[in-house]
Symmetry: C2
Subunit: 675 residues, 2 copies
């Protein structure tokens, strides 16, 4: 297995196919080694071990077009072990993507296109952001789900316009992470036959041999998930890897995983040890490695012409793939003009004109929980926004996020209802993968408290700027009897602190409708925090609720020359309105501001912000969550009624009253500010 | 399997053993049904299905003492499917713990001892707080780790003073969660032979049949983790369950899981469906269920004398267990007085007198990263605090949290070094379990960014108030090249918002030493945020650093009649000190406050707080993280230099300078406040 596979690069004119393969692979290996060495930071081990797999995929097996990394029907590739970024960047450069040798030379530097870990939207050809381990696995599952659903929806006999595979490369670290279990178990249940994993089975993790902490039989585990499993005993054996991938392709009813036994840091002096995992080899070892591969020891970033020419065949192959597909698509368009137009619209991420007219307005005569309003809205817009696709983490009946009549994607791939199971993290990461795939606007839902389980994926959605929606219900202690284990307290503030993540905490059904409109109109990730309990409804005939919500915060009820501003968020708007009435009875003029979104409010002009929260008028914020951030809006001369403790198990109304969310308490605290 | 197992309770005088078993089980079943019905909230399905297992464990198989739920050598029981709380409360009442029938009647009510989900410290006999699914599994793994380590450390031939099992009951939801994978894979690697899982394999989850989303072969999965697996085909077959548990007990080298096929809601009209999972049965179905079990349909909370008498045999058994152990322990004490004293001290959670003298002080002549200081401190106090036990999530060489020379608990159970693998969530939940077990002060460490993966466990540590330590390194964007996927931004603020969780972000090595002292002196969970980069050292000969840190924030450098207060947190104290010097050069007097802990600062008197952050003096907070919460301390007329965007991949110093953490920028912003 440690057989020498280096070839003298001077011999390029007389190279056999095998030698050309090896030269191409070794060129990639050493580009990665040089990039890490020059940056004096990075991970050379995985690139040295995994280069043969990357070469096979991008050079020979994958259907992709380096000239158009956005082509809709390309095979997707996810580098779940994102620390091997130098491998991916080197591959993208060699295969002809818009990544240059200069980019490789500025690996991990300020403002470069080659950051420490692959970042979607930052580097051509990078499908998703990876590095936080395990999530690439779940995003790949999401991509394969998207493909399966879109194929079921759009393909017609003779016109398989959606027909691609999702490949992911992953390491021991990915498989140790819990999200690998959630995603792989889900993928097995869904029978995602076009999902193929290449497991870099190198027996080494950062701390040392995997025997220290990871002795499970990963393939047996995947078998238990009903995956197709294979083993390749030598990661340098191109024929064996290719045969395994061919067998995985032939298996259409189950996802496939191929464990490829590689040598971490292959060709370098400390190959096969954790010493080559996460730091540069050092000048001496770099030279030794180059010598091993018969590359000049004193040169860096060497790209033999023959190797580059060979790699760049991917460009021609890619042009052919896309041209063929375009021809197919024109035939499809001729036969199915409406479907074709819809396909193109959704691929562009453009909403159907006038879709928002389908959003319902709620009358004031009946109190409604915002989770229920959300369910009504979802179904009302379902026809106009067919790209909506998602479900809940085994809480469908509680979060109300189901398209009626409730059929399952698992049973019928045209269905938009996904039963994700009790897998919050896997769900949200898969949602990110679906969003990254394109053509769909995915959502995942659960109780707000369990957003904690999915935090890493929600953060990644924000970092990737994908259009992913997270619908969290049971948003405060008012959920009641389930108690503190189920009652969010700090979650609102935590998620508001995530850069680029839009928070939407509507006060009622009509604000929920406005929030849904904004969530679809905006292009980045949003989360909803919706109530379990019924709430009164704002009169939409008197208020332009959408206009208000689209500013993040707005004056819901004005008072002439207000003496105090009561800021209510979500369900706490209602006790504020009650308090304003009581205060009015005592001759105190209180403005009530509804504050459904911090992120959107922050986008407004200083003038608008000051018009809502005027300087010189004391302010009292009321929200059933952490007080921590509210001081930014109320100032040290203001006040906050919030929750800086854990909740309690009791009926919701009882808890809310005990914790201070009564009109009476708001009045008392407001009066202290006014005097 | 659906055979009738109810017995007429009038026949109690002539009951056979079998009939008495059934009466006892059905009494438990119906107490749970009645508690849920009276609360009009809760989960009757699992109690009806799982009561036979609970009965067998608490009545017959477990070594426990209802009169002393804190007895050190008791078997532990974890109800991972915590929504079945009514089952646990009913069991604890019947077995003779300090849970009364009145408590069952006030299930899920304000101030009751029987909250919606089991809460450690709230109800006698509840070992850990459960409900957030999957975590009970990982906490049980932690408990079994604690037992294994303590047994290795304390037992002597003939004196097995630590010798107990950890049982956990769990459901499909627990097994779907990713943390089940992390914990079970770790447990398999560690060969935790005294860990026994009872899997309530009822084929139903909240949304419907598990076939909707969960089709894996769970036992095959556990086999892949090297667990001992068994299946019991009828959850009402006491003999079969008992035999399986006996076989699990006989297997000492591997953890065991027994899948017990039960019927959710057994005996109720909608048995076997998701309709009985999470809501009261309703009066009619309650009556029908009572009829099924031959209990009076018109009475609630019925406890037949024979059943109670039978259950309460657990009290006598328990007294015998503990008496036997006490006798054993006295023999042990006679032979090993020092060990016995140490055992008792650590079980009480009391630190060794004078232990803190082992904490090193760091000289000012050499800059040191606080992660490195942490490693030095850990090893310096290791001998004085033998109850410290923990490790990292495959980042030992980066987080420096290893006892030298670095042997592994996996290989030698007396070792205090745990290689947790890339399993942040599993690690932190196991740490909670170790802390809940007692006798150890556990810690887990990883990069601060990956605290996100473990958020649900860290929250649970705070809710349980366990003495668990979370050591997070690479605490800001200053970690550099790994880029935004690895750079924490919002994490500090998020964790500061968690009630009862102490934040410790020291500015240097000596504050790190003080933080370690506080982390051990305090009794609840703490997290450290430590730097990757080297930092100067505060002169401990001139400052009482411990006194300062123990106040949460303190004046590190005074200026006469300060015109501005520069508040630095963690590594950002240093540019503040530089800025103060530059400001002094311009004739501006700046006080510098070091702010290592918000939670501790909040505990101080209003006077102390005002003395550090005086009203009327403008304040500038500087921290390489979210600004969101700082306005509470600086006010709207103050300013914050922080990070409300994602980081970037580049050398750390470059990033810090680009994002405004230079003395020059601090000076510029401070001058705006002063004028």
């Amino acid at each position: 297995m440690r057989s020498r596979v280096g070839y003298n690069i001077c011999m390029t004119s007389t190279l056999t196919d095998t030698a050309l393969d090896q030269l191409s692979i070794n060129t990639l290996r050493l580009l990665a080694v040089d990039a890490v060495q020059k940056a004096n930071s990075g991970h050379p081990g995985a690139p040295l071990g995994c280069a043969p797999m990357a070469y096979l995929l991008f050079h020979k097996l994958m259907k992709h077009n380096p000239a158009n990394s956005k082509w809709a029907d390309r095979d997707r590739f996810v580098l779940s072990n994102g620390h091997a970024s130098a491998l991916l960047y080197g591959t993208l450069f060699l295969a002809g993507y818009d990544v240059t040798l200069e980019d490789l030379k500025s690996f991990r530097q300020w403002d470069s296109r080659t950051p420490g870990h692959p970042e979607r939207g930052h580097t051509d050809g990078v499908e998703v952001t990876t590095g936080p381990l395990g999530q690439g696995i779940a995003m790949a599952v999401g991509m394969a789900m998207a493909e399966k659903h879109l194929a079921a929806v759009y393909n017609r006999p003779g016109f398989e316009v959606v027909d691609h595979h999702t490949y992911a490369m992953l390491g021991d670290g990915d498989l140790m992470e819990g999200v690998s279990h959630e995603a792989a178990s889900l993928a097995g249940t869904l029978g995602l036959g076009k999902l193929i994993f290449l497991y870099d089975d190198n027996l080494i993790s950062l701390d040392g041999p995997t025997s220290l902490s990871y002795t499970e039989d990963a393939l047996e585990r995947f078998k238990a998930y009903h995956w197709h499993v294979q083993r390749v005993t030598d990661g340098n054996d191109l024929a064996a890897i290719e045969a395994a991938i061919a067998a995985a392709n032939a298996e259409t009813g189950r996802p496939s995983i191929i464990a490829v036994r590689t040598v971490i840091g292959y060709g370098s002096p400390k190959a096969g040890t954790n010493k080559v995992h996460g730091e540069p080899l050092g000048a001496e070892a770099v030279a030794a490695t180059k010598k091993f591969f018969n590359f000049p020891e004193d040169q860096s970033f060497v790209v033999p012409d023959a190797a580059l020419k060979n790699w760049r065949k991917a460009v021609e192959r890619g042009a052919g793939f896309e041209a063929g597909w375009k021809k197919l698509f024109e035939g499809y368009r001729a036969a199915n003009p409406e479907l074709a137009a819809e396909f193109e619209r959704t691929q562009k991420g453009v909403l159907k004109a006038g879709w928002e007219k389908a959003i319902p307005s709620f009358p004031v005569d009946k109190a409604v929980a915002t989770r229920n309003a959300g369910g009504v809205i979802l179904n009302a817009i379902a026809g106009q926004v067919p790209e909506l696709f998602g479900g809940a983490a085994d809480l469908t009946s509680s979060t109300k996020t189901i398209f009626k009549p409730g059929e399952s994607f698992h049973v019928d791939a045209t269905s938009r209802n996904v039963y994700f199971g009790v897998r919050e993290f896997g769900m949200c990461a898969a949602v990110n993968g679906i969003a990254a795939h394109g053509g769909l606007i995915p959502f995942g839902s659960t109780f707000f408290i369990f957003s904690d389980y999915a935090k890493p994926a929600i953060r990644l959605a924000a970092l990737m700027k994908v259009h992913a929606l997270f619908i969290f219900t049971h948003d405060t202690v008012a959920l009641g009897e389930d108690g503190p284990t189920h009652q969010p307290v700090e979650q609102l503030m935590s998620f508001r602190a995530v850069p680029g993540l839009t928070d939407l905490r509507p006060a009622d059904a009509n604000e929920t409708a406005a929030a849904w409109r904004l969530a679809l109109e905006r292009t980045g990730p949003c989360f909803f925090a919706l109530s379990r309990q019924d709430l009164p409804v704002i009169d939409a005939t008197k208020h332009d609720v959408y206009a208000g919500v689209s500013k993040g915060a707005y004056v819901l009820q004005e008072a002439e020359k207000p003496q105090v501003v009561l800021i209510g968020a979500g369900s706490e708007v209602w006790p504020c309105l009650d308090a304003a009435k009581l205060l009015a009875g005592e001759g105190i003029r209180a403005r009530v501001v509804s504050f459904p979104s911090w992120k959107i409010f922050e986008e407004q002009s200083a003038e608008y912000k000051a018009s809502v929260l005027p300087a010189g008028v004391p302010k009292l914020a009321v929200e059933a969550g952490s007080t921590l951030g509210w001081w930014k809006y109320v100032g040290l001369d203001g006040d906050v009624i919030g929750i800086d403790r854990f909740g309690a198990s009791a009926p919701g109304k009882k808890i809310m009253a005990e914790l201070g969310f009564s009109a009476e308490n708001i009045v008392a605290r407001a009066k202290k500010l006014v005097k």
